[in-house]
Amino acid sequence: MAEEPYHDKLFDHEYDGIREYDNPMPAWWVWMFVLSALFAFPYVLWYHIGNGPSILDALEAEQAAYAEKLLATYGDLSVDEPTILRMMEDENAMLAMKGLFKGKCSQCHLADGSGSVGPNLTDDHWKNVKGVTDIAEVIRTGITTKGMPAWGDQFTETQLVLVSSYVAHLRENPLPGKAPEGDPIPAWPAASAAGIDENAGE
């Protein structure tokens, strides 16, 4: 800052011994101030008057990209028994759902599905479920009077299939956890027995 013209000329006034210099404002300070104010014009022009993306546009783009990714990976899944059974065999899908189950379901079913407030989902006893499509139905509409939330608004059909498959697949590894509730039901039918076309949706 040595080149600044600070001549340090004192004013003749004085307050309780405090004096003031008649120095100019630092030029870089003035310019930065002006520039920071001018920045407002292009910003408003682009984002509010022109067609710069809004925050909601950005969200929609993000969501669309994810939907496309889902479609590309799994195709357009529909909630029916063969599809749910088929997706159970898709190891990648099951791995992907592990985190989602942990985030949304583990508060009541624990991360491994062994149950706390909600029932143990790894055993052979079920309260509201006879077949895998019942799982999807329970998840979609919930059993709100008994504490199980409805997730229908939060999941797309494809996601609903994947979550249901994940829950159904938990039974493959029964855990002691919460004592069984409801009635024992037979094992899920084998994917092939349910008449699955291995290539469906691909």
Binding site: F11, Y15, G17, I18, E20, L56, A96, K104, G142
Partner: protein, 751 residues
């Protein structure tokens, strides 16, 4: 200069009142220790939740407002008053206007602090950050502030110094703006002696609160401290102020621009986008006006740096001003939307605040007190060595506080938004993102302990200095001529330019700022301009927020809270849940994936006050009613959060399961809400019965979910209304459309 230009009256004799300065100084340090200690206690609770001993009075949500209010209004507040009372008398060459008002101001302010210290642990709160105090105390604050204003402006009126020095400009701005902010943010309708509902709801309430919240930082933690700096720094350094012109320009730009910046606290929320943009752009513009203060401070020390190396007081000032510069650079940066998208709701905000609070407010205060102590106690400072140790221990304390907390903020912000290769959240479990921060919290607690230790050393040093005081104090006689009428300003200088347009000449004369010199001898005119600056900016933002209907598009399925839910909502506020939970899902995919549909402005029309929060120590709760509808889960969770959520650091709330809810008290609250325009019908006649009926319903649901609760006495306990509120939260938008009538009802409500 001619005699008439001086306009001098007869010589007068007077004395300064330093007794009041001594009082404010001691109060500063005593409350400082208390406020910082409470801060340390809650910092420890974050790592060891059991440290609250399951006592409602020591619960995080109740103590956090005590900490913030104590350090802002008790520690910084008393420091400001000490600075104002000491410097104003000297700068005006006059005793304070009235000793009686000085005393009322001092004792009234301490009484307000004590009432805050009692009411927060009791859960009496408006739950508006830094404006939590309930309405009777708010009225007391208003009255004491008026007393302060009369005392201050009265002193200006009786001054024997013609022109007002820059420190006084900042004090004027402080007094005016704080009054405006405090009154308009706290407009509320009392429902009882200790409970009120704000006249604003939802988006508008959020807007008012952050207009206030941000400007409390501006006019309580910035302008008075700049005033303090302008007096005590040149005194301590014995150096002239670097640039008078810079003082003028940065003062007015600061006062004018600060007010606009509030909405930067509401980025990505349901507040209108135009407001957020205004907040961001004006925050960027605020960078240089803030740095003007820093420059004028640091450049005043040109040629005095050798002194700084030897003088602890100047060291405190230099570090304080440097932190001011850092936080006022960081502030504009955090106001940029995308940066804010990462930083908001994380510890980054906490780090930002503490670099300002500990660095700027804390160190400027300590510097001032060490400079004042020998002067007001009229003896040597007890220990220069302790003073120097305090400086180092405090500086290390600040760094150990803020660095890990910056890391914590960045870590958590990045974890929240991380997606894996499948496009799914990488850290779905919120607790995982909290556990990761705990090592940083430990280091922070060490930093805080060091800083607090320094403050205690300062208190001891001042007390020991006081103990060795002269008794009685000398009260030196001052002499100065009175001001007389007929003052003639110095002639306006001509233009320095040659051969340009008339306009250019005028601009050149203007830029020499001679006009300002005239304002400086006319406090009333000066104050009017400050009022204009503060009000114009406020009105430009507030009026459109209230008048433009499209700011809050109506949602037909959103209906008022039932009496039981309202009871629950009030308990939520009393427990201070908003200190750790937001209710605002931002429109970002990682948030909608984690919490559900993003929050819409129309969902908050019955929220008085709004509960959007500012920090997520726990997860967002806006859609908790959709994602967790289990009564049994909530009961177990409130009783002991780790029972349902392993690794949770949420405090226990066992008293919610044992304290009886006040069913009869809900009627007056419903009535108050109705007076504010909430369309209640049947509730106006029989709110308590309706609340009881819903409580029974929820209790039955609990038993249906978990029969072991049959025969328990929970039905009338506080946990039931609280759960009613939880189950309701964020569910309205998913409801089927009701008949036309309801739509009209809601439409009618919109201003």
């Amino acid at each position: 200069m001619t005699a008439s230009a001086q306009a001098i009256g007869p010589m007068e004799t007077f004395h300064y009142d330093d007794a009041i300065v001594r009082k404010f100084t001691l109060a500063t340090l005593i409350w400082g220790v208390v406020g910082m200690l409470v801060g340390l206690v809650i910092a420890i609770q974050l790592m060891i939740p059991e440290a609250n001993m399951s006592s409602p009075y020591l619960s995080f949500g109740r103590l956090r407002p005590l900490h913030t209010n104590a350090v802002i209004f008790a520690f910084a507040g008393n420091a400001i008053f000490a600075a104002v009372y000491y410097s104003t008398q000297r700068l005006c060459k006059a005793r304070m206007f009235s000793d009686m008002l000085s005393a009322v101001h001092f004792w009234g302010w301490q009484a307000i602090i004590v009432s805050a210290a009692l009411s927060f642990p009791l859960g009496i709160t408006q739950s508006r950050e830094y404006a939590e105090l309930e309405w009777p105390i708010d009225i007391a604050i208003t009255l004491i502030w008026v007393v302060f204003a009369i005392n201050f402006f009265g002193t200006l009126a009786r001054r024997r110094e013609r022109h007002l020095y820059v420190a006084l400009w900042f004090y004027i701005a402080t007094i005016i703006a704080v009054a405006v902010l405090h009154i308009f943010n706290n407009l509320a309708l009392p429902a009882s002696m200790l409970k009120s509902y704000p006249i604003y709801a939802g988006v508008q309430d959020a807007f008012m609160q952050w207009w206030y919240g941000h400007n409390a930082v501006a006019f309580f933690l910035t302008t008075p401290f700049l005033g303090l700096m302008y007096y005590f720094l040149p005194k301590a350094a014995n150096r002239p102020v670097f640039s008078y012109k810079l003082s003028i320009v940065h003062f007015w730009s600061l006062v004018f621009i600060y007010i606009w910046a509030g909405p930067h606290h509401l980025h990505y929320t349901a507040a209108p986008a135009w407001a957020a943009t205004l907040g961001m752009l004006f925050s960027l513009m605020l960078w240089m006006p803030s740095w003007g203060g820093m420059l004028n401070g640091l450049l005043t020390l040109r040629g005095a740096w050798n002194k700084v190396a030897q003088d602890s007081i100047l060291k405190f000032f230099v570090v304080g001003i440097t932190f001011y510069g850092m936080s006022t650079f960081e502030g504009p940066m955090l106001s940029i939307k995308i940066v804010n998208g990462l930083s908001h709701y994380t510890d980054w905000t906490i780090a930002h605040v503490h670099s300002g609070a500990l660095g700027w407010n804390g160190f400027m205060t300590f510097g001032m007190i060490y400079w004042l102590a020998p002067r007001i106690f009229q003896t040597e400072i007890w220990s220069k060595k302790w003073m120097s140790i305090h400086f180092y221990i405090g500086t290390i304390g600040i760094l150990l506080y803020i660095i890990p907390i910056y890391v914590a903020g960045l870590t958590q912000g990045l974890m929240w938004r991380a997606f894996d290769a499948n496009g799914m959240l990488q850290y779905t479990d919120f607790i995982e993102t909290v556990q990761r921060l705990l090592p940083m919290y430990w280091i922070r607690a060490i930093g805080g302990t060091l800083f607090l230790t320094g403050t205690v050393m300062c208190l001891i040093n001042v007390l020991m200095t006081w103990a060795t005081r002269k008794a009685p104090y000398e009260v030196p006689e001052q002499q100065a001529p009175a001001l007389a009428g007929g003052y003639v300003d110095q002639p306006t200088p001509g233009s320095r330019l040659v051969a340009v347009t008339k306009l250019a000449h005028k601009l050149d004369v203007f830029s020499q700022m001679h006009w300002h010199r005239r304002w400086e001898r006319l406090p009333l005119l000066f104050t009017i301009w400050v009022v204009v600056a503060v009000l114009v900016a406020s009105l430009f933002e507030i009026v459109p927020t209230f008048l433009i209907k499209s700011n809050v598009p109506t949602i037909a399925t959103v209906t008022p809270y039932t009496p039981l839910e309202l009871m629950g909502r009030d308990i939520y506020q009393a427990e201070g849940c908003y200190n750790c939970h937001s209710q605002m899902i931002r429109p970002m995919r990682h948030e909608t994936e984690r919490y559900g549909e993003y929050s819409k402005p129309g969902e908050f029309v019955y929220d008085r006050p709004f509960q959007w929060g500012s920090r997520r120590i726990g997860p967002d709760l806006h859609r908790i009613g959709q994602t967790n509808s289990s009564v049994a889960w909530h009961v177990r969770h409130f009783n002991r959060p780790t029972d349902t959520s392993e690794g949770s650091i949420m405090p226990r709330y066992p008293w919610l399961l044992t304290e009886t809810a006040d069913f009869d008290g809900i009627q007056s609250r419903i009535d108050t809400m109705a007076s504010l325009g909430v369309p209640y019908g049947e509730e106006l006649q029989r709110a308590p019965e309706m609340a009881r009926a819903q409580a029974t319903e929820i209790f039955n649901r609990l038993i249906e979910e978990d029969p072991t609760y049959a025969g328990s006495d929970l039905e009338d306990k506080k946990v039931i209304p609280m759960i009613a509120y939880m189950l309701r939260l964020g569910t309205d938008i998913a409801k089927p459309l009701p008949e036309e009538a309801a739509t009209e009802e809601v439409a009618r409500l919109q201003p």
